[in-house]
C-alpha cells in the first residue's frame, strides 16, 4: 500500500482501522491520509463514536427473559434448548423435565386440561396479538399469552411489579388460567396441590427453589379452602427483591376453582407476605 490514498479507499478501510485490524503499512497509509484530510478524519470520528466500547452482551437472566418474552408474545410456552435433543424435530414439554413420577402426575393434569379445552380455541398458531403501543411490557406478554394451556410455571423473567401488575398476574397469566382450567373441580385439589408445587420447585433456579417450596407449603397448610400453586416469579416490589407466587383458589367458597390469590414475600423468607391480592379469574 502506497502512502497515497484516495477518499473512497480510506472510507472502506476505516472500519478495520478503528478496530485495529489493518496491517501496519496499510494502517500507516490510512493515518497519513487522515492527517491531511479533515473530511475523512471527521468520518473516522463519526464511526469511532458509533462503535466505541465493547459491544454489550446479554446476561443469562436476560437471555432467559428474552426467549420467554418471545414465546409469550407468539402464544407459546418458553422452552430451554435441550443439551441433547430427545428427538430431532420435537420440542420438549415442561413435564419432560420432571422426575418420572412427577412427570406422570403432571401429564395427567395436562391431559385433563387439554381435553377440557378441546374446541376452546387455544392460540397455538403463532397468532398472538401484536405488542400494543400503550401499557407495560407485562401487559403485552400477558395479553399475548391469554388462552394457552400452560401448567404450573416458574417464570424466569424478573419484573418490577406494581400492585396493579400483581393483580394482572393473577387474573391473566396463562399458567394460572391453565391450572384452573385443568382442575375445574375442588374435590381433588388437595391431592394435586403437592404435585403442582413440586413441579414449580423443579422449574425454579436452585437459589430460589427452597423458598418456592417453603412458601408454597406454608400457604397450602394455612389455606382454609382448595388451593393450587400455579406460578412463581422473582422480581422487585416497592424497591425490595421479592418472590411472587400465584395460587388458584375457589373464588367463591364451595364452588369451582375460579379464583386466584397472589402472595409476595421478601427474598429469602416465607414470613408474613409483603403484599397479597386475590379475586375471581376472568370467565373462560
Amino acid at each position: 500500500m502506497t502512502e497515497k490514498m484516495d477518499h473512497p479507499t480510506c472510507s472502506e478501510l476505516l472500519g478495520r482501522h478503528v478496530r485495529g485490524e489493518l496491517d501496519e503499512p496499510t494502517d500507516r497509509a490510512v493515518r497519513a491520509h487522515l492527517a491531511g484530510c479533515p473530511e475523512c478524519e471527521q468520518e473516522r470520528r463519526g464511526l469511532a463514536a458509533l462503535v466505541a466500547g465493547a459491544p454489550p452482551r446479554l446476561s443469562p437472566d436476560e437471555r432467559d427473559a428474552l426467549l420467554e418474552g418471545v414465546w409469550d408474545a407468539v402464544g407459546r410456552r418458553p422452552e430451554p434448548m435441550p443439551a441433547s435433543p430427545p428427538q430431532p424435530g420435537r420440542t420438549r414439554r415442561w413435564f419432560e423435565r420432571l422426575s418420572p413420577a412427577l412427570a406422570a402426575a403432571a401429564l395427567v393434569l395436562v391431559v385433563v386440561g387439554v381435553s377440557s379445552l378441546v374446541g376452546g380455541g387455544g392460540d397455538e398458531g403463532g397468532g398472538g396479538s401484536a405488542a400494543r403501543e400503550k401499557g407495560t411490557r407485562l401487559d403485552r406478554r400477558l395479553d399475548a399469552g391469554v388462552g394457552s394451556t400452560d401448567g404450573p410455571r416458574f417464570k424466569r423473567a424478573e419484573t418490577a411489579f406494581s400492585a396493579v401488575d400483581l393483580v394482572r398476574l393473577g387474573r391473566r397469566e396463562p399458567a394460572v388460567a391453565g391450572v384452573a382450567e385443568a382442575n375445574p373441580s375442588t374435590a381433588a385439589a388437595r391431592e394435586t396441590a403437592a404435585g403442582l408445587l413440586a413441579a414449580l420447585v423443579s422449574q425454579a433456579p436452585p437459589e430460589v427453589a427452597d423458598q418456592v417450596r417453603d412458601c408454597g407449603r406454608a400457604t397450602l397448610e394455612a389455606a382454609t379452602g382448595p388451593t393450587l400453586p400455579a406460578l412463581a416469579q422473582r422480581g422487585t416490589f416497592e424497591d425490595r427483591r421479592v418472590l411472587v407466587m400465584v395460587f388458584v383458589t375457589d373464588g367463591e367458597p364451595g364452588g369451582r376453582l375460579d379464583g386466584y390469590a397472589v402472595r409476595v414475600w421478601a427474598e429469602g423468607t416465607c414470613d408474613v407476605p409483603l403484599h397479597t391480592a386475590s379475586g375471581l379469574l376472568p370467565s373462560p
Binding site: 472510507s11 476505516l14 463519526g46 463514536a49 458509533l50 466505541a52 459491544p55 436476560e62 422452552e79 405488542a131
Partner: protein, 191 residues
C-alpha cells in the same frame, strides 16, 4: 447433524417445518448481535431488550416468508434496526414518568462515569435518529452489523457506489451531530 452445526438457512427451514428447537438455536446464535445493535440504536438496555425480543417475534412470525435472497443474519439485522426505531418512537410518545433525578443532585445509584457513558450512548442514539434513514440503515448495517457493501447494495436495491457514499456521509453526519460546531469544520464534500 446437531442443530449447532447447521447453518442459518438450514435452521430456518427446520423451524418452518415445525422444529421449534431450531428457532431457539437461531435465537441463541443471533441474540447478542441483535442486542448489541439495538443497544447502539436505542441507547438504553431495557429498550434494547424490547427491540431484540420484537426482532425474534418477527422472525417467528415471518420465517415462512423468508425467501433466502439474503443471509438470515442480515435479514434479522434489518428487522432489528426497524424494531429499535419502533421502540424509540414509542418511547418518545410515552416517556417513562420515573427517574430523572433533580438537576445538580448526584443520583447515588449511578457513579458519574456510568452516567457519562449513558449520556453518551443516548447522544449517539439521538444523533442516529437524525441521520436520514437511507444513510442510517447503511451505516448501521455495515459498521455495526458487518454486512458487506455488496450485500447492502443487493438488499436495498441501490448501486454499490451509492452504498459506499451513504456510509461515508452517514458517518460524517454522525460526527457533525455529536460534536459542537467549530469554525472551519467541513460540512460538505463532493467526491
Amino acid at each position: 447433524m446437531a442443530r449447532e452445526e447447521l447453518d442459518d438457512h438450514a435452521l430456518l427451514r427446520r423451524f418452518v417445518a415445525g422444529d421449534e428447537d431450531a428457532f431457539v438455536a437461531l435465537v441463541r446464535r443471533h441474540e447478542d448481535r441483535i442486542f448489541a445493535l439495538a443497544f447502539r440504536v436505542t441507547g438504553d438496555r431495557e429498550d434494547a431488550l424490547e427491540a431484540t425480543q420484537e426482532t425474534f417475534v418477527s422472525l417467528f412470525r415471518r420465517a415462512a416468508s423468508f425467501k433466502g435472497e439474503a443471509e438470515v443474519g442480515t435479514w434479522l439485522f434489518r428487522i432489528g434496526i426497524n424494531a429499535s426505531r419502533d421502540v424509540l418512537r414509542r418511547r418518545r410518545r410515552h416517556p417513562p414518568a420515573e427517574e430523572a433525578p433533580e438537576e445538580g443532585v448526584e443520583d447515588p445509584r449511578f457513579p458519574a462515569r456510568v452516567e457519562e457513558n449513558a449520556v453518551r450512548r443516548l447522544d449517539i442514539a439521538r444523533a442516529l435518529e437524525k441521520v436520514p434513514p437511507e444513510y442510517r440503515e447503511a451505516v448501521v448495517m455495515h459498521d455495526l452489523g458487518g454486512v458487506p457493501y455488496e450485500e447492502i447494495a443487493r438488499l436495498t436495491g441501490v448501486a454499490l457506489g451509492t452504498v459506499k457514499s451513504r456510509i461515508s456521509r452517514g458517518r460524517r453526519l454522525l460526527a457533525q451531530l455529536l460534536e459542537p460546531p467549530s469554525p472551519g469544520a467541513p460540512s460538505k464534500r463532493t467526491r
